[in-house]
């Protein structure tokens, strides 16, 4: 099994599925000869040709709309948006059309499409290149929003997203693109959507996260382990629809929960999970549900982005608060 980075896993999943299924095309800005600004589509033009690897004009509304049009004709469109901050022009198309054609036409026209984009900061990119979009999309009915946290999950979840009969927003953790490698076998096996992964079992506290923050969450859990605290880590993976049951089960066991996300705190997806606990898990909680999240400011320019993005120390800080209130 080759040891590959997350961006290579994304590339592998697309190549693999394009080989398997001739109805898959990829489209986006600079994805052809250039292989995408992050090289996610490297080699696809040479292997599959310009008909299936479509360089689009510089127009994100068009990219989303084109994916919609293609998918209604049975072409599985996998669109790339270069940076998460440039997904906003897709919002109208996604919420008013991609998620609705099936419902509006009673199943006559459907949108088996994926919009992929890097998500989040941490690589010192220019302004508007480091936003976190998951909650904006996850609030939209009829959508799936998926965020992998490792090369293996990127491969398996992207396969699942492409094969899914409904539109999927696939948000890749920019910061993890090249941070570490993992053995990933190109076996064409998708991972399940709509389900959280127990990333690590534990008994004292449940740490819930997704995407790039999973990395810091794992490091925080290592430190907690060294202190004798056993953290269970849940990788949400499919943000929407949310598999709250897995989280509830874990919290029923641990009685404590901290949710870690990079996107702005107010109205973020961490709040959705905390609300689920406030409704269904209240009686199992020993302590308040804490959220570690981006502040309610725009992502600062590169010099201050680390002020914004939660890190291990902030995670540990909130975990300590929980244990202060509800000692082990």
């Amino acid at each position: 099994m080759p040891n590959i980075t997350l961006i290579e896993a994304v590339n592998l999943a697309m190549a693999s599925e394009m080989r398997r299924d001739p109805s898959v095309v990829v489209l986006g800005e600079d994805i052809g000869r250039n292989g995408g600004v992050f090289r996610a589509t490297l080699g696809l033009l040479d292997e599959f040709g310009p008909d299936r690897v479509i360089d689009t004009p510089l127009a994100e509304t068009l990219v989303a709309a084109m994916a919609i049009g293609l998918s209604t004709q049975g072409i599985r469109a996998v669109a790339e948006i270069q940076f998460s901050g440039f997904m906003y022009p897709c919002v109208d198309q996604v919420v008013n059309h991609a998620t609705r054609y099936r419902n509006r036409t009673r199943g006559r026209l459907t949108c088996p499409m994926v919009i992929r984009a890097p998500n989040g900061g941490g690589i010192h990119a220019p302004e508007h290149h480091s936003e976190s979009l998951e909650t904006t999309f996850a609030h939209m009915p009829g959508l799936r929003v998926v965020a992998p946290s490792s090369p293996a999950r990127a491969y398996g979840l992207l396969l699942a997203a492409i094969r899914d009969p409904d539109p999927v927003i696939f948000l890749e953790p920019t910061r993890l693109y090249r941070l570490f490698k993992q053995p990933v076998e190109d076996n064409g096996e998708a991972l399940p959507l709509d389900t959280c992964f127990i990333d690590r079992s534990g008994s004292d506290i449940t740490l819930v996260s997704w995407g790039a923050m999973m990395h810091d969450t794992r490091v925080a859990a290592d430190q907690l382990a060294a202190e004798g605290i056993s953290a269970e880590i849940i990788d949400v993976a499919t943000i929407k629809p949310l598999d709250l049951d897995t989280i509830l089960e874990s919290v029923a066991k641990t009685g404590r929960c901290v949710i870690i996300s990079e996107s702005a705190r107010a109205g973020g997806w961490a709040s959705e999970i905390a609300a689920g606990l406030a409704e269904h898990g209240l009686l199992t909680l020993f302590a308040p549900v804490m959220r570690v999240a981006g502040y309610d400011t725009p992502m600062p320019l590169a010099k201050q982005e680390r002020v914004y993005i939660p890190d291990v120390s902030r995670i540990l800080h909130e975990v300590r608060k929980v244990f202060d209130l509800a000692p082990k």
């Binding site: 095309v25 008909d51 299936r52 479509i54 689009t56 004009p57 127009a59 509304t61 068009l62 709309a65 084109m66 994916a67 919609i68 049009g69 293609l70 998918s71 209604t72 004709q73 049975g74 072409i75 469109a77 109208d92 198309q93 008013n96 059309h97 099936r102 419902n103 509006r104 036409t105 009673r106 199943g107 006559r108 026209l109 459907t110 009915p141 009829g142 009969p165 409904d166 709509d194 629809p241 949310l242 598999d243 709250l244 049951d245």
Partner: protein, 404 residues
């Protein structure tokens, strides 16, 4: 101190122009002058023309020798029948709304010729991506009249166009203005990818051409030489905004130049011209000639929708004058002159069309309500497990008051 540069109507080619055919001989002058004085430093590098096509004068007399289809008795009659049936349907729909039996409805009064032309110009396999007033085209393609009533009556089932008809692969009405137009790019790309000989017709109003979505499609269509016809129904108004204040453009056809595609005008109240121009554009696209834009000049004789009161913003005299250019009257005069139509034909058509509209109304009002939990049934292919409780909650609760 602000003023509308275009309110003078100078250099405009707007719906009012369709009343007075331009003199053929007079060569059109450049409508937009270059910024700089022509000097030895400045060279002309490109030039673009806009053309207008019309066969029938407003009184139904011939402005030019008509194309073959208009001389074919059956075809010529079928087009008229569809136009009148649509007008009778429209009248019924408005009546239903006025008596509280239908929600807001967007009437097509005065614009029926365009829908008829679309319906007759498209091949069955072609794909129609409509705005929300081209009922005639939808009827021609197999959408039952009661489906349109269901849609405006607030029932999603009105968008489930019947299997076995061309409409089954067409798109439903699109209310968010212009957002459906770039779907044509994806659809047409898929057609080329599959090596099919199909054409996409994507239509909208004059107001819609102000939106970025519309433009992103027009700007890009020729990049892949896609088989698309962009149709702009210029009915003179976007709700209360007259088309000459909607944009700085002197006409809507020239907006095609921004995408390097042909843009031309047609008298949209002349069903012969509209069908001829659309057919040419469609067949050219089918033969690999690429995308084009057609601006059909027409007039909205009705309020914007039944929720609107156009008297607030529109002079009655303009509407009265527009009735003189009515597409039905005009085409009927042509048919009569051609010997294709009699009073008996007219009486029979009105009786049949009225009955059809009535029957559609009855099918609509007799429609059984959907189960409340049906709101979940086409959300995803399979409802996610985590949402089952929501559907169950709705089901257990049963019908809620307040349906229309």
């Amino acid at each position: 101190m602000l003023h509308c540069a275009n309110s003078s109507g100078k250099n405009r080619v707007l719906p009012s122009a369709i009343a007075k055919p331009a003199a053929k001989a007079q060569a059109a002058q450049p409508t937009v002058n270059p910024l700089t004085e022509l000097s030895s430093a400045t060279t002309k590098v490109a030039s673009y023309d806009v053309f207008l096509t019309r066969y029938l004068n407003p009184d139904g007399s011939l402005a030019a020798e008509p194309p073959a289809f208009a001389k074919d008795r059956d075809t010529a009659r079928a087009m008229y029948e569809l136009m009148v049936r649509t007008r009778l349907f429209d009248k019924k729909a408005v009546a239903l709304q006025r008596t509280g039996q239908l929600g807001t409805y967007a009437a097509v009064l005065g614009q029926e010729a365009i829908g008829v032309a679309i319906g007759h110009a498209l091949a069955a396999d072609d794909i129609f991506i409509p705005a929300y007033r081209e009922y005639a085209a939808q009827f021609a393609r197999g959408v039952p009249m009661h489906s349109i009533l269901q849609y405006w009556g607030g029932d999603e089932r009105g968008m489930a166009y019947p299997a076995g008809t061309p409409s089954h692969h067409d798109f439903p009405l699109s209310v968010p203005i212009a957002t459906h137009i770039p779907h044509a790019i994806g659809v047409a790309y898929a057609i080329k990818l599959k090596n099919e000989r199909r054409v996409v017709l994507a239509s909208c109003g004059d107001g819609a051409t102000s939106k970025g979505d519309w433009y992103e499609a027009v700007s890009s269509a020729k990049v892949w030489n896609l088989p698309i016809v962009f149709l702009v129904n210029n009915n003179g108004w976007a709700i209360s905004m007259p088309s000459h204040r909607q944009t700085g453009a002197q006409n809507y056809a020239q907006k095609g130049f921004a995408g390097g595609i042909t843009g031309e005008q047609v008298d949209g109240n002349d069903v012969i011209a509209t069908r001829a121009v659309l057919s040419a554009a469609i067949e050219r696209a089918r033969d690999g000639g690429g995308p084009s834009l057609v601006e059909a000049l027409t007039y909205r004789l009705h309020d914007h929708t039944t929720a609107d009161d156009a008297r607030r913003y529109r002079p009655e005299a303009e509407v009265t004058a527009a009735w003189e250019r009515c597409p039905v009257k005009r085409y009927k005069a042509y048919l009569e002159t051609a010997g294709f139509w009699s009073q008996a034909d007219e009486d029979a058509l009105i009786a049949a069309g009225t009955a059809a509209a009535e029957a559609a109304a009855q099918t609509f009002t007799a429609t059984q309500p959907q189960a409340p939990e049906a709101i979940f049934d086409h959300l995803y292919e399979t409802l996610p497990k985590s949402m089952a409780w929501q559907r169950e909650e709705v089901r257990a609760r049963g019908p809620v008051g307040g349906g229309h």
